[in-house]
């Protein structure tokens, strides 16, 4: 493969031909801010946040769509670049609700990160602000188009990851907006609520309804685990606050990348459902009564033992579970074969 060598902030970097300046910089450990760029999605070059200075080039090019060439000299933090980024942020903030106070994405928002990084505190550009109603009529996703910065990641994620193209850009100029066809709410569109658009949104325009109302981003501990639903084996992170699972967010899974389906992303509510069994139950006179573990375990041991003694091992049968872990299935067949003394063990693989 042909390679090119360029210099970024004085550091010499060699990358394969066709690499963008952004990727080359990242390879060299140099930070460049981005809103619309995503390594999994097609290049877009819309937000201009990633502009850099390349002597000899007219204007400041967007590094995410500029290919590195041999001998290129790049400055990522020159005064002109910083000035441009500040102006971009000021223009965005001129039409962005100042409600980090209660915004669910506070702490996990690129607009906020970059405003802090570049010290952009105020909005010098007074003017009209959007005043769209917040779309809150489905149980999964809250859409607040007042906070949208039109980076188009959700549009590309829907088309390129989910293959659905539910949302796209609509209207023009100041009125430009991301909408489903005919500008209906998601609930009236063909949306399957996979939430993959939410996973890529860099600001607070798309939020997980349950998670973002239950915890601030800095309050949660994230634990990577494997989805308990179908056999695909997607990875995701359980978001935990005060020993409760308050939501699910994408991480980089071996199987699924950041993609999840509605069940994986929004189907965690059963964990703390009031119907959960929290104590052993023993049936007495046709009714369940609460029991201690000691009572329950010794009753089970005694009854299974009695059947084994009276009728033989093959009068016992065990259903293990395609829902439980490998370790548990292993122990269940070990228990069945070594303790009960029968091969009568199966599970519902056939259903």
């Amino acid at each position: 493969m042909a390679e090119v060598t360029l210099t970024i902030n004085g550091i010499s970097v060699t990358v394969p031909k066709g690499t963008t300046v952004l990727d080359a910089a990242r390879q060299a450990g140099i930070f460049i801010p981005t809103f619309c760029h995503d390594p999994e999605l097609t290049r877009f070059g819309a937000c201009r946040m990633c502009v850099v200075e390349i002597p000899g080039m007219r204007n400041l090019p967007a590094s995410c769509v500029t290919e590195a060439t041999d001998g290129m000299v790049v400055h990522t933090d020159s005064p002109a670049v910083i000035e441009a980024r500040k102006t971009i942020l000021e223009l965005m903030l001129a039409n962005h609700p100042m409600d980090c106070l209660t915004c669910g994405k506070n702490g996990d928002c690129r607009l906020q990160d970059y405003a802090y990084l570049y010290g952009v505190k105020t909005e010098p550009f007074g003017g009209e602000k959007h005043n769209y109603p917040v779309e809150n009529d489905n149980p999964f996703i809250v859409r607040d188009m007042n906070k949208c910065i039109l980076c188009g990641k959700c549009v590309r994620a829907c088309a390129e990851i989910q293959g659905k193209s539910i949302v796209d850009f609509a209207y023009r100029g100041f009125d430009a907006k991301i909408t489903p066809a005919m500008d209906v709410p998601l609930s009236e569109s063909e949306c399957v609520f996979c939430g993959n658009c939410v996973a890529v949104c860099p600001v607070g325009a798309l939020q997980e309804k349950g998670l973002r109302s239950a915890a601030r981003t800095w309050e949660v501990k994230k634990v990577k685990t494997t989805c308990p639903y179908c056999g695909t084996g997607c990875s995701f992170e359980l978001n935990v606050k005060d020993n409760r699972v308050v939501g699910v967010t994408s991480c980089d899974g071996d199987v699924n990348g950041r993609a999840l389906c509605a069940k994986g992303r929004f189907g965690y509510g059963f964990i703390h459902h009031p119907d959960r069994l929290t104590t052993p139950l023993v049936k007495k006179n046709g009714k369940f009564v609460k029991a201690t573990w000691e009572e329950a375990i010794s009753l089970v041991a005694q009854k299974l033992g009695a059947v084994k003694d009276k009728y033989g091992s093959d009068a016992l049968a065990v259903l293990s579970s395609a829902r439980c872990t490998n370790e548990e299935n292993y122990l269940m067949q070990k228990f069945t074969r070594a303790v009960l003394g029968t091969n009568n063990i199966d599970h519902c693989a056939r259903l």
Partner: protein
Amino acid sequence: MTNSIREIAGANFILAIGTNTTESHPIISLQAKKAKRNGATLVVADPRRTEMAELADIHMQLNSGSDIALLNAMANVIISEELWNKDFVANRTEDFEALKQTVAKYTPEYAAEITGVPAETIREVARGYARAKNATILYTMGVTQHICGTHNVFAVANLAMLCGHIGKESSGVNPLRGQNNVQGACDMGALPNVYTGYQPVTLEENRAKFAKVWNVGELPAKPGLTVGEMMEGAADGRVKAMYIMGENPVLSDPDSDHVVHALEKLEFLVVQDIFLTETAALADVVLPAASFAEKDGTFSNTERRVQRVRKAIDPVGDAKADWQIICDVATAMGYPMQYASASDIFDEIARLTPSYAGISYARLEQGGIQWPCPSADHPGTPYLHKDKFVRGLGKFNPVEYIPPAEQPDQDYPFVLSTGRRHFHYHTGTMTQRTGALEVHYGAEHLEINPLDAADLGVVDGDTVRVKSRRGQVEVKARLTDVVPRGLVFTSFHFPEVAINKLTNPARDPVAKIPELKVCAVKVEKAS
């Protein structure tokens, strides 16, 4: 699966047969969509016009249960038009002549009569499959939940071997497993005939090996009962007590009334679950288990990838992890079973299971590993059968078409098929309690073709009574041409639409899988 999920995106030709992939395996469907965007041909064989079928280049809307006729006809075309992979067949397979003889009579015209798929379409698909560089077959319960399920799978495998579309990247035979750890439960020997890693209980050396590590004198040699046989055994008194962990056969198994009757006849039933399921309600003792978020462990996914499950929170209330409960019961029965952690159990599994031998929790921290992984320095196996099949040569198992056990007739004129919905899962125990999924998709309905509905005087939203020879349910009708005339469809996710009261427990004689995809019903407007 013989291949990895991500390899699907690299296929040039995808035959998806009996899989409603976008709803049942949404993330796997993304790979099929990606392949299609890269220019692959997607062919879907399904009696329903699912979203997957809408996406397909060709939708073969076959009659329920006619898969073998379709697959044999494809083989017929491939052989008669000399499109088969002669190198592969010569070097890697045996009994080709037997296949050739059997499929000879399955001309596309003959198959068209049985399947309802036009002969010319069968030819086109056969040619496309045979000529593709990489071709993959995806299937799920639409293939297996028939009395001829095993034969359906043979027919699929015959086709793949005939064209050499197996044993290489992005080419293979890929059953998509429906539950998070159904692969793992099988791998772990939660089956009546094998120990972990499919080591048969009938082999003396296997029994000796496990008996030694488990520290018991002798292990039973006779293969045990399957789920269905257990239920029959319970009903006729051969089985006296059952221990059910994390399963809900009352809703998931066919002919629910029979299952309830069988479980009620037991002298003792203990159920271990996270909710008081329909099955747990019948138990003498219910043990509260921890959910996946409350324990450590591993799941093995449909592509044989072993991945970590990590404890995020403490168990709710007094619930305990299933593995701890099993240890407690075993110990109380006089067999001391103690492990400090799930990791320790895994190490014992790796010791006893050649295909898991190289996997450990330490390695899994770096990411999932696909078995076979025979040693600690083995990277895992993304696709199977690379240079040879497990048995050596791949054997063609020619199979004949047989019709479903129950055919529609004058009294029960519709075919009922069952399956899954995107927003729900299995018997709904979890997805009906999320505060979100059930809010969005709160009630089940019966899909019925508008022309059939018109004949019955049923309009969209009417409550209808669906009856089979075994039971009945009431459900709202949804008029849709997703189903062809004569077919009705619903899911088994909703306890209030316990559709398995109706389904047919007739089983495949080998795999014992019930024929949930076809039973005869009548539909009438409820007053």
